[in-house]
Symmetry: C2
Subunit: 336 residues, 2 copies
């Protein structure tokens, strides 16, 4: 299996992507990687690390870099030799089975869509990621690629999410929930109600409407929503977590006594942090494309980025795009 790495992408570029790549290579003897980026910089990082299997690593030069705040359409039009573009091209050319990038999400989406094209029957790509939860982990999609999704598109997201969850976690018939403002059937807007109708008629394991708090219960395998909802839910959650962290820091540093309490609670706080660690959930899938593209958080560190590469590996092993193509066809035939 060969995976292309956009070595320049993300807040830290090769400083993170190169050590992460070597880390994953060590653990997976059948994996080869193509590091795409400015050759000089990438090789410099490679030289810092010792004892890696050079036969399974290849550096592919790309003269440009897509900036994190660059307009997706401009990046697509003007940066034809960017590390991101070249990494995606390698899939198209059959030289890589997947690509991983921590770069500009909009540009990655636009470029992947332009170069790889959509699978037949899928209108738009969706971003899907695992979320931390009390009883387990739910996959949530779409996370920001689409701001207005029709009922049919929400149905497509459900099919894609179900296949991804089933593939990467070996779950048979994952349970599917549709995000809404209440669990009662009369709740929600027309799009959501119509999507519920399509899901009820399908052979997906559809459980009905779920609400925002269900994302973190971890009882439903896949939660479907449009990208606006997904983005708002995710960002609001980050906001709460940030607020609680800020308040905890302030309160724990008020006095000698609270500082002592903080010291004593450190193992507990670390355990909580570990259970909700975004690094364990890093690696969002761009679903619906004729190829496997995994997006890492821009601020990912080595272990986090390594997790995103392993996510791509799982999707290659299970041929997720191929499965989506076949199964969507079956679902559409069924509902037709």
């Amino acid at each position: 299996m060969k995976i292309a790495i956009d070595a320049m992408g993300g807040d830290f570029g090769p400083e993170v992507t190169v050590p992460a790549s070597l880390h994953v290579l060590r653990n997976h003897p059948n994996l080869s990687l193509i590091l795409v980026g400015k050759e000089e910089i990438v090789c410099q990082e490679l030289e810092k690390e010792e004892g890696h299997d050079a036969s399974r690593i290849e550096v592919h030069h790309a003269s440009e870099v897509v900036e994190m705040d660059e307009s997706p359409s401009l990046a697509l039009k003007r940066k034809k030799d960017s590390s991101m573009r070249i990494a995606i091209n390698l899939i198209k050319e059959g030289k890589a089975d997947a690509c991983v990038s921590a770069g500009n999400t909009g540009a990655l989406m636009a470029t992947a869509r332009f170069v790889l094209r959509m699978l037949p029957g899928i209108d738009r790509p969706a971003i899907c990621s695992a979320m931390p939860g009390i009883a387990g982990s739910s996959h949530l999609l779409d996370l920001g690629a689409n701001v207005d999704s029709s009922a049919e598109q929400l149905f497509q997201f459900a099919v894609m999410g179900s296949i991804l969850k089933s593939a990467v976690e070996s779950i048979n018939a994952p349970s599917i929930g549709l995000l809404n403002v209440g669990e009662e059937e009369i709740k929600g807007n027309e799009r959501v109600k119509n999507a519920a109708k399509l899901l009820t008629e399908s052979n997906l394991n559809y459980m009905g409407f779920v609400e925002g708090n269900d994302i973190y219960k971890g009882e439903i395998d896949v939660i479907v929503c449009d990208g606006f909802m997904g983005n708002v839910a995710l960002k609001a959650s980050e906001g709460v977590a940030e607020m609680l962290t800020t308040f905890a820091k302030e309160e724990f540093s008020r006095s000698i006594f609270t500082k002592l309490a903080a010291l004593m609670s450190r193992p507990v706080l670390n355990a909580i942090r570990k259970r909700t660690d975004p690094r364990r959930y890093n690696g969002a899938s761009l679903l619906g494309l004729k190829g496997i593209v995994v997006k890492s958080h821009g601020s990912a560190d080595k272990l986090s980025y390594a997790h995103a590469i392993e996510e791509a590996m799982k999707e290659v092993e299970k041929s997720v795009p191929k499965q989506i193509e076949t199964q969507l066809h079956d679902h559409l035939e069924l509902s037709a």
Copy 2:
């Protein structure tokens, strides 16, 4: 000032609403309350409490109760002698300046809209509530009353939120943010983009797009979104908080050592809880009606419910509906 209390509403009914009412009466010598509900039950609760000023409290019998899970349209059609309906009628009849209810949100909304009617120029009511935040408290609206809002409706929400914030917190020209999937101007769907255009052209203190995490930063006075977004953001936030609480409980109870840490950290954990206590933020305003209606959480306790009554008092003092009517007119003239 006279406020009607839907004494039967909420998960606990008169057990909470009556003691809360008496608590608020004690602190506000100019306030009178009308407790609406089953006379026998309400009087029974009143008898439990001693030393209240009976001259400022009145019991108004209502033979029916709207159940928490009852269909709003059925409640509206069939329960014409419910405590909720009668409490709202008292505003319409000029016998009360406002009403507070912890009952079924949908039924409260439908009944208030039917009995009181909308202010001229406002299409739909919005639910608005203060949220906890790092730097201060933002008001968020709409919180679930409307699932699809046009650009014009989002603009109306902004006007109403601005007036409410200005009235209850004495802030001059509150800052307004529009919830979106990114801060860049090109982001979002057509409705949000058009609402941004209306807001930019208005004389509101519009700051631009904000994201989900800005809700908990507390740097923007009023954050505007449609009810679907608002509900998803709120419920997702509850979900995260619940997950973190569950994990904290589990981790703090793992061993003697962690239990000791929990004991030592109790003052800190209590301080954090207090700063984010939903009770301090209880009392969501139903805005856009020809009258003041405040919704308490169904599970509110005495202090929490008292807070909702005080919220209604502030809105009466500042004649919020009258202000909305006048200022919306000014804003519309300006933008016409």
